[in-house]
């Protein structure tokens, strides 16, 4: 089975990790913008869930529309969304699956005790039965240790 690949730039990688650390212990969320399977920018969005932001995120319809507009303005497309799992592994939950949209890339970053760790990407299968893990391809100058960027 061929898995889908999402390439992210170092700036995207860092932005997602920092966003997850900033909002810890709450979940962060935002849109991935780019083209042809390569995310080159993110749009950080407010987490508007009313179910408790430690365990849920929600992008309200007006922010979704904003993300689509920003994607067009940046000359790209909306490729998907990212969110963080505070103190939980970077694996999609049943809740994620229940709320997933097709073709979107879903990046999950695990933030353990305030520090961003594993980052994974997932795609909804056509029959909605499950997520398939994709390959996250980092740009050549990307790094997996976010700490230097915190004060940097």
């Amino acid at each position: 089975m061929s898995s889908q690949t999402l390439t992210i730039t170092a700036a995207v990688d860092t932005a997602i990790r920092l966003h997850g650390q900033e909002t810890y212990p709450h979940e962060c969320c935002g849109a991935l913008v780019g083209r042809d399977g390569a995310a080159t920018a993110v749009v950080a969005l407010p987490n508007t869930t009313d179910e408790g932001p430690r365990r849920r995120f929600m992008v309200r319809p007006s922010d979704y529309q904003l993300a689509e507009r920003r994607a067009t303005e940046l000359g790209g497309e909306l490729l998907g969304f990212y969110h963080s799992h505070p103190d939980h592994p970077a694996r999609p939950s049943q809740y994620d699956l229940d709320h997933a949209w097709p073709t979107f890339a879903y990046i999950i970053v695990a933030v353990a005790s305030g520090v961003a760790e594993a980052m994974t990407v997932w795609y909804l299968q056509e029959d909605r039965s499950r997520f398939e893990e994709g390959s996250l391809n980092h740009g050549k100058d990307s790094h997996s240790d976010p700490t230097p960027a915190v004060h940097g």
Binding site: E27, T49, E51, G52, F57, S93, Q94, Y95, P102, T103
Partner: protein, 490 residues
């Protein structure tokens, strides 16, 4: 004809078009036409029951149809209809129970061929199906108590294929349990309820993982015990534990499938869901201690927990597979004598101390104290000879021929089971109007089943001028055990 704007993730299903024309007079008709033209959209817009998925927003111009007439909202030719995704996700919680995937990549566990055969009557129902059965397999349910309610609930949940069933109990099986606690059989008397339950549940369904916790549920261990579970099933028989289960469920955001039973009447509800009320919204304060008798004191019809426990199991299964209307915001009362179900509406109380908008209870408290129950005092080394007498002393004094008036303050039906020779029956409730039948100069020994009710009778008699009143310590049960084992215990 109206224009429907298609969001990015759905464009692969509309030949990459970001807008599609469709015909219809209402939103519902328009969407039906759209999904007829582009069939691939259907699964992403509608759920298995044919309803719009909760995270699919439909706007007519700038208005969300939820605030118009939903799918019956009329659409004119120059209106623009937009499909706008709500993007949502998060880690697992059990507000709407979403069992954790236990295997596979982000999906639910697969069913084995044996399981497919076992659950075939579930699988052929569209409301359960393979998906629902997998959710059951992935789910974890914690039963508080392996007694009257826990027995039928755990047995049906095991049979239904709940993946992990936890049970908290620290009791041993007694003969008096067997009339209703169908997890346990006659050969189990004297065994721990947990080991008896585990054997029975494994026999029903060896696929179910049984986790046992041989401990009393306390404020110290409740949150940790509940944490791994999706639904908590409250089968407790006392107020401190009931409030503890409720508060822990609210604090953790886990639904509480609640049931209680007394004599011929049972109650059930689902508390502590996200938008629903909790037990404290219904009963902010516990009743004064002793006002509401327990089953041990008041009795219970043996089949009653079967009905209520199975309602709790039904609600648990519905929460897990996400079908039907849960018993949230509704309090069901069952009367076995009249064979009637009644339903009370319950509302979430915004001033509720634990689930309200400004909660004052944010951690678990001392529930024994909250309910006014004194912790069991350590056994006094010696009997207080001024107010109490032991069964052995009573027998010695009776044998000596001492003039003692023995007053049994139990109910007439208890008096028929066993009695102390020569005793007179005056039920506790009758004492205030019948105490004049007693002579204040007599030495009076009062007794009940275990010593609680007779202590109240003794206090009352002293308050009206009786000076020589002794309470039989341990009640008639102690008498039967130490003096007259030929009589039955109950």
């Amino acid at each position: 004809m109206a224009k429907i704007l298609i969001p990015t993730p759905l464009r692969p299903y509309t030949d990459k078009q970001d807008a599609v024309d469709a015909s219809g007079a209402t939103v519902g008709e328009l969407l039906a036409d759209l999904t007829k033209k582009h069939a691939g959209l259907k699964a992403h817009l509608y759920n298995e029951q044919g309803k719009l998925r909760s995270f699919v927003n439909i706007y007519v111009n700038d208005e969300d149809i939820r605030y118009l007439e939903k799918e019956a909202t009329p659409v004119k030719a120059d209106d623009t209809v937009s499909i706008i995704p709500s993007v949502a996700g998060g880690v697992e919680t059990a507000t709407a129970v979403s069992p954790k995937p236990r295997s596979g990549e982000g999906g639910l566990p697969e069913l084995t061929n044996e399981e497919i055969k076992r659950y075939s009557r579930h699988l052929i129902m569209p409301e359960v199906g393979v998906e629902g059965q997998k959710k059951l397999k992935a789910s974890k349910v914690l039963c508080i108590g392996a007694g009257g309610l826990g027995s039928p609930a755990a047995m049906y949940l095991a049979a239904a294929g709940v993946g992990t069933l936890g049970i908290v109990d620290f009791d041993t099986v007694d003969f008096s349990n067997l009339q209703r606690q169908i997890l346990h059989g006659t050969p189990d008397v004297g065994r721990s309820k947990l080991s008896s339950a585990k054997d029975r549940l494994n026999a029903i369904n060896p696929n179910v993982k049984i986790e046992t916790y041989e401990t009393a549920l306390t404020s110290e261990n409740a949150l940790e015990l509940f944490a791994p579970y999706d639904v908590i099933l409250d089968g407790t028989d006392n107020f401190p534990t009931r409030y503890l289960v409720n508060d822990a469920c609210v604090l953790l955001g886990k639904p509480n499938a609640y049931g209680s039973i007394f004599r011929f009447e049972g109650q059930a509800s689902v508390f502590a869901t996200k938008d629903g009320p909790c037990y404290r919204c219904l009963y902010p304060e516990p009743p004064p201690p002793g006002l509401v008798p327990s089953c041990a004191e008041g009795g219970v019809l043996g089949v009653l927990p079967g009905i209520i426990g199975v309602i709790q199991a039904t609600e648990t299964i519905k929460l897990i597979i996400g079908v039907g209307e849960p018993l949230v915001g509704r309090f069901m009362i069952y009367d076995a004598l009249k064979m009637k179900f009644r339903e009370l509406k319950l509302r979430k109380d915004p001033d509720c101390p634990v689930c309200g908008t400004h909660p004052t209870v944010t951690t678990l408290i001392d529930y024994e104290q909250f309910c006014g129950v004194m912790p069991a005092a350590p056994e006094p080394a010696a009997v207080n000879s001024a107010t109490e007498i032991t069964s052995v002393e009573l027998k010695q004094r009776m044998d000596r021929g001492d003039a003692l008036k023995i007053v049994d303050v139990r109910e007439p039906n208890e008096y028929q089971i066993n009695r102390i020779p020569g005793s007179e029956l005056i039920p506790l409730g009758d004492i205030p109007k019948r105490y004049a039948e007693l002579n204040k100069n007599d030495e009076i020994v009062v007794h009940c089943k275990m010593g609680g009710r007779s202590a109240k009778a003794a206090d009352f008699l002293r308050s009206v001028g009786f000076t020589k009143v002794l309470n039989l310590k341990g009640g008639i049960l102690d008498w039967v055990e130490k003096v007259d084992p030929s009589q039955p215990k109950y």
